[in-house]
Each structure stands twice: as structure tokens, then as C-alpha cells.
């Protein structure tokens, strides 16, 4: 590991991620938008890889890039009566524009006033085994929060299944 990540690789990945996001927002075909989203997710995974966070990168690809396929299935199944329906019409909504402007203002204010900590990259990046030690052992110190969050997610999942059961539930 050097002092910082490879600038060229970072630029390629970062531009790909931003370009994908712009592409997603500007494409009027929702299938294209979904594929651009996939592209963005993969690029962000690449950025994680540059930071030697390979486990995070893989999970990013599996969870987010995987979720895009579900999204596309819903796009096709729920919205498309005909192929042409995939292309959205442009409709301008003042309230949405206002909301976006306010959000942009807050984000700009927040980012321009934030002080980012300057941390040098570790000489040896922690690997997946280290992550396992932190999450799954008492010495790591994060066992309890990890288990609690797992329980919360499980409860949410069970609730979702229960809701989908329909009329015959009591």
C-alpha cells in the first residue's frame, strides 16, 4: 500500500460512478436507468476495492447490484404493458423542483462547511479475517451491536412475510 490510492484508477472509477448516476437521472427509458444504476453500483464497488475493502466491495456488488435486477423485474412486470411504455414522458413538477433545490442547498452548505479528517492509509489494510474478528468475537467488541442489528432485520423480515399473507391471517 502506498501513501494514497492510485489517482488514475480513482479518477476512472469516480467518473464512472458519477457518469452512471447522471446517466440514470437523464435517461428517459426506465430500463436504461436501471442499467445505469447497476453501472454506478459496480463502480462504487470498484472504489471500495481501491481502498482495499474487498469484503465491502463484494457485499456492495452482491446486495446493491443484485437488487437492481429485482428492480428491473418489477419495472418490466408492473409498468410495461407495451415496450414503448419504458420511455417516460417528461413532466415538470414545481414542488419536486423546489424540494430538489432545497436538498441541493443543504448538501452544498453541509459539504462546503464540513472539515474532513485527513487520515493516512494504513500500512497494511485490515482484511476480511480481521473484520470477522471484530464482528464475531467478544474481544472485537462489536458482537452485541451486530447481533442486535441482525435481530432487528430478522424482525422486519418476519413482519414483511406476515403482512404478505393476506386475508386468512387473524
Amino acid at each position: 500500500m502506498g501513501e494514497s490510492v492510485n489517482t488514475l484508477a480513482f479518477l476512472v472509477m469516480a467518473l464512472a460512478a458519477i457518469g452512471g448516476a447522471v446517466g440514470m437521472l437523464t435517461s428517459r427509458n426506465i430500463m436504461y436507468a436501471a442499467f445505469w444504476l447497476l453501472w454506478t453500483m459496480l463502480s462504487v464497488g470498484g472504489l471500495y476495492l481501491l481502498l482495499s475493502a474487498e469484503f465491502l466491495a463484494l457485499i456492495q456488488v452482491m446486495v446493491y447490484a443484485g437488487a437492481v435486477s429485482v428492480l428491473m423485474l418489477f419495472v418490466i412486470m408492473l409498468t410495461l404493458r407495451r415496450r414503448e411504455d419504458a420511455v417516460r414522458s417528461l413532466d415538470f413538477s414545481p414542488s419536486a423542483a423546489l424540494l430538489a433545490a432545497v436538498f441541493l442547498g443543504i448538501m452544498y452548505y453541509g459539504i462546503s462547511n464540513a472539515t474532513f479528517p485527513e487520515v493516512a492509509l494504513l500500512a497494511e489494510a485490515p482484511n476480511t479475517a480481521d473484520l470477522g474478528v471484530v464482528l464475531f468475537t467478544m474481544e472485537g467488541g462489536w458482537l452485541l451491536p451486530f447481533e442486535i442489528s441482525a435481530l432487528v432485520l430478522l424482525a422486519a423480515m418476519v413482519a414483511a412475510v406476515w403482512w404478505t399473507k393476506g386475508q386468512d391471517r387473524r
Binding site: L38, E54, L58, V61, V68, S69, V70, L73
Partner: protein
């Protein structure tokens, strides 16, 4: 040799292996299926029909590349690459011997499964871009079944990970060297604790191979040729190649996780070291033969049955098994963490 050059050569070797593999597997598939169906398969071109597949490859390469008028041009061109690339990437973490591998990833097992899961995205892209209802249904079926079977596939390898405490494929292989009391090889398949996981793994992995009984995405009696209907020439070739490459990867994963990878019982390390890649390849090809055997024997299942089986039987079964397995190895202290 500089590390960059070495990495490049390794990647090229993986590409070469993938291409060679495709050619060999097509021939093998035809002969094996022929045998199973009690017919001959290719016999006329070259001795035993050996030259049939090279000729077919030449035909595929020189065929006219037809682009239908109504297709979604951009996605139609990207889709074959989007299917082919993940298949190629999946070779990166497979250990052919203690030293022969593209790269020794700490998260090799997870990497291989994650990369393989991207293939279905390309199939959906192809199905959508073809502007053909059969293709679209094929692509959607492919993604639907991949999402459903991804979960049991990922969970079914967890017992192995729990047992050895690592995701590194080479370490998993090393944990399987040696013998039980000098009789049985210490492969995980000889340990009854891993049998339920292995069965679930094989059933879910068959989805990745995309062939009968689970070839819903290109079921030719229902969907013409599914997602590949509108593709011709080498674009079709890439889909084909990716499919054969996937059966290689699935078999290689099964060999690595359950059949001891490159290890052989009763053979000292000095003897094994030079022949390890050969041993691995032989095991993988036996695995591929079994996959073809299944393909030639079982009829295609129905799509709704397939989905119900995944969500209602396979996933609860694998979740239960992980719980039971965790209790067993903790109670009797059976885990053998490496390194």
C-alpha cells in the same frame, strides 16, 4: 518478470482455458448426451468426430452477424459481453494447485459466487434488448430463478466456511488434505455432516449451469431459444461459451469445497505437487460429466414448481441446516479452523 506482466499472463491463461474448455465441453456434451440417448453423436468429421467442434467454432466465427431491425441497439451489443465477462472473472479465485491460480483471494469463495450472480443480469439485458417476447420471458425467467436460487447457494456453502473459518479457497482445499484413520480421504464429502449442504449446493448450482432440468430461460419447447433467440454468429457464441464456462466453474467449486480440490489421499506431497493441476482438472471433468448425466436424464421442471421449490423448501431447509450444523460443531467442538 514484473508483477504486472505476470498478472496479465495469468489472465490470458484463464481466457485460454475458458476458450479451450468451451470447445472440449461441446464435444463432450454431444458424445455424452448421445450415449445417454442411445445415439451416436458426432462421428463423421475427424476420428471419433473430434474435429466437429473446431469446425463448428469456425462456422460460428465466419457466420454473418445479423442485427434485427427493432432491437435496442446499445443493449443488444453490450449483453453478450455482460454475460461473458462475469463468467471469465469467476476463474480468478479458483485454485488449480497450491501455486496455480490467477490470484489468491482471501474472500475467494464469496468472490466467485458474487461474480457468478452477475451473469443473470446480462441474460435479462439480452432478453430485453432483443425486442422479442420469447427473449424477454427467457431473460425474466433467468433473473427470477437466479434470485431465488442465489440464496440457498450462498447459504449452502456456509457450513464449509463455519467448519474451516475462512473464505479462502486454497485454505479450504488445504483443510481437506490427509485421511480419516488412513482409510478415507479427509474430503468434506466423506464427512456425513456435509451431505445435506452438498445436496442443497448441487441443486442450487444446477441453476447456474442453466441446463435441463433447470433451463427455463431457454426452454426450446416453450420459448424458441429464450434470451438467445435473436442472436447469431459470435454474439451467440459468447452466450454459449459463458454457459459452458459456468458449468466448469460450478464443478470446480464443488470439487474445491467438497471433493478436496487438488489433493489426493495416500499420495505424498512431493509426488502430488507436479500433478496437482491435472488431478484438479480430472476431478472437475468428472463433475461436469455428472452434470451432463443429470441433463440427459431428468426432464425439465415447470417454472412455478421451480420457484416454489426454492422459496418454500430449499431456503427453509438450508436455514434449518445451518442452525443445526452450528450447534453440532460448537457442542462437539468439531470445527477445524485453519491459520
Amino acid at each position: 518478470m514484473s508483477p504486472e506482466l505476470a498478472s496479465l499472463l495469468r489472465i490470458l491463461a484463464a481466457v485460454g482455458l475458458m476458450l479451450m474448455n468451451g470447445v472440449i465441453l461441446i464435444y463432450m456434451l454431444r458424445r455424452v448426451l448421445g450415449r445417454l440417448h442411445q445415439r451416436l453423436g458426432p462421428v463423421h468429421v475427424g476420428p471419433q468426430g473430434l474435429l466437429q467442434t473446431p469446425m463448428d467454432v469456425l462456422k460460428l466465427l465466419t457466420k454473418e452477424d445479423i442485427t434485427p431491425t427493432n432491437v435496442d441497439k446499445a443493449l443488444y451489443f453490450i449483453a453478450p459481453a455482460a454475460v461473458f465477462t462475469p463468467s471469465l472473472m469467476a476463474y480468478a479465485a479458483i485454485p488449480f494447485s497450491p501455486t496455480w491460480m490467477v490470484t489468491d483471494l482471501d474472500t475467494g469463495l464469496l468472490y466467485t459466487l458474487v461474480v457468478m450472480s452477475l451473469v443473470s443480469m446480462g441474460l435479462l439485458m439480452a432478453g430485453w434488448a432483443s425486442a422479442n417476447k420469447w427473449s424477454l420471458i427467457g431473460g425474466m425467467r433467468s433473473v427470477g430463478q437466479h434470485i431465488a436460487y442465489e440464496i440457498p447457494l450462498l447459504l449452502s456453502v456456509l457450513p464449509v466456511v463455519m467448519y474451516v473459518g475462512t473464505l479462502n479457497l486454497s485454505s479450504i482445499v488445504e483443510a481437506q488434505s490427509g485421511t480419516w484413520l488412513g482409510i478415507l480421504p479427509q474430503w468434506f464429502i466423506t464427512n456425513p455432516l456435509f451431505w445435506p449442504a452438498f445436496i442443497i449446493f448441487i441443486v442450487s448450482a444446477l441453476i447456474k449451469v442453466n441446463q435441463t432440468p433447470f433451463d427455463m430461460s431457454e426452454a426450446e419447447s416453450e420459448l424458441v431459444a429464450g434470451f438467445a433467440t435473436e442472436y447469431s454468429s459470435m454474439k451467440f457464441g459468447l452466450f454459449f461459451l459463458s454457459e459452458f464456462s459456468n458449468s466448469f466453474i460450478v464443478s470446480a467449486l464443488a470439487v474445491t469445497l467438497f471433493f478436496g480440490g487438488w489433493t489426493l489421499p495416500f499420495v505424498p506431497d512431493e509426488v502430488l505437487a507436479p500433478i496437482a493441476p491435472v488431478v484438479f482438472m480430472l476431478k472437475v471433468y468428472v463433475g461436469i460429466f455428472v452434470l451432463m448425466w443429470i441433463r440427459g436424464t431428468l426432464p425439465r421442471v415447470r417454472m412455478d414448481h421451480l420457484m416454489q421449490f426454492a422459496w418454500k423448501i430449499l431456503i427453509p431447509a438450508v436455514l434449518t441446516w445451518i442452525l443445526v450444523f452450528g450447534f453440532i460443531i460448537k457442542l462437539f467442538d468439531l470445527g477445524r479452523p485453519v491459520g
